[in-house]
């Protein structure tokens, strides 16, 4: 994992990123440039490359290693010829999501949104969608902790408006 302690392989230029809680991560330049937000720091400001610490206020250090791992692997997948088999990419993606709680997933979506990387954001939003697919309203509400601020009458009226959508759900 990327951490400030990695000092070997000094050939590749490193960029230091600072997570929300102040922890530093040293990242290879091509990996860091996958994040548009980081890239925007340096565009037209090449002098800043040296000794610049990039603060990423919406990314906690908890998620940083996983996110960097995603960038590393996916940029490697893209470069490889012939392209890696779909199973390999799928296996990596599944392993990436394994053991991630819903809350962690949402925090990572926030982070991906902030870092402005389409690939990660698309991947995570799809994962979130998969978790609420064909579930009842009550399930989705409990799942994400959404507070219902409708009165029973209002809710009944909205349900009646689109009655067709509310039949035939998975039981859970």
């Amino acid at each position: 994992m990327a951490s400030s302690s990695s000092s070997s392989s000094t050939q590749v230029k490193k960029i230091t990123l600072k997570a929300a809680d102040g922890k530093h991560f040293e990242v290879e330049e091509p990996v860091a440039m996958e994040m548009e937000t980081v890239k925007s720091f340096f565009v037209g400001n090449e002098d800043a490359m040296k000794d610049m610490v990039v603060p990423l206020l919406n990314v906690s250090s908890e998620h940083m290693p996983a996110i960097l791992d995603f960038y590393r692997n996916h940029s490697e997948f893209r470069k490889r010829t012939p392209p890696p088999p779909a199973e390999e990419v799928k296996a990596f993606n599944e392993a990436f999501l394994e053991n991630k709680s819903d809350e962690q997933l949402m925090e990572m979506i926030m982070a991906a949104n902030f870092l402005n990387t389409k690939e990660l954001l698309n991947f995570l939003t799809e994962a979130a969608a998969n978790r609420i697919k064909n579930k009842s309203v009550e399930y989705v509400r409990a799942f994400f902790g959404i507070e219902n601020d409708f009165t029973p009458e209002e809710e009944a009226r909205i349900r009646a408006e689109n009655e067709w959508a509310f039949d035939g759900l998975d039981e859970d």
Partner: protein, 197 residues
């Protein structure tokens, strides 16, 4: 967000009507993260500071709110009841302009508190609308429509989903009296919701 209408000026020398392109204000997406690093040092007494970054004017007047939301941390501020309303000014005109964003240090600190807000259970509602719509767009339309009863924030959100997806679409839906009116109702709601923005 203001937008002046195209103006037909009668004063052109050759007698042909002169078409003036519409002028946009407050319409940009801009990376403005570079100054966060120094905010700690100067965090007190609500000093007004200016944040300058280059941005592209997006020539899309019909979609004003969305453009503002696409600037990441502005969007998050809005999602929290506009507690970080920013004073914004676009200077200059044309394809690329310089935009100035002024906000107090206290407001910057609010952005740092974003992480705190997310610790609450209702973290998904803390996401910006465009992300929620992106999540919904991966779902079947049936699931999308169902989100209208989650809470008042979600009531009309689904109308922004840009695709229809009927996977196990069966005859029953067609016969449902509600489904016949689905399209027209959706359009009505969309226009109502858009006008609220």
């Amino acid at each position: 967000m203001t937008r002046t209408s195209p103006v037909m000026s009668p004063t052109t020398s050759d007698g042909t009507p002169h078409f003036e392109p519409p002028h946009f204000e407050h319409n940009f997406s801009t990376p403005v993260y570079q100054h966060f690093e120094s905010r700690r040092a100067e965090n007190s007494d609500r000093v007004q500071r200016e944040y300058v970054g280059s941005s592209n004017v997006q020539g899309n007047g019909s979609h004003g709110e969305g453009d503002v939301t696409s600037s990441k941390w502005v969007g998050e501020g809005q999602a929290r009841g506009g507690d970080a309303a920013l004073g914004m000014k676009v200077v200059g005109s044309g394809g690329t302009v310089v935009s100035k964003i002024t906000c107090s240090c206290e407001q910057i600190m609010d952005f740092e508190g974003v992480g705190e807000c997310n610790k609450g259970r209702d973290f998904i509602s803390g996401l910006p609308n465009d992300i929620l719509v992106q999540i919904l767009s991966c779902l079947e339309t049936k699931d999308v429509v169902k989100t209208s009863v989650l809470s008042s924030r979600w009531k009309n959100l689904w109308t922004f989903v840009y695709n229809l997806h009927f996977d196990d679409y069966d005859d029953k839906h067609c016969r449902s009296r509600n489904f016949e009116n689905f399209q027209s109702l959706s359009m009505q709601r969309y226009s109502r919701f858009s006008s609220q923005l």
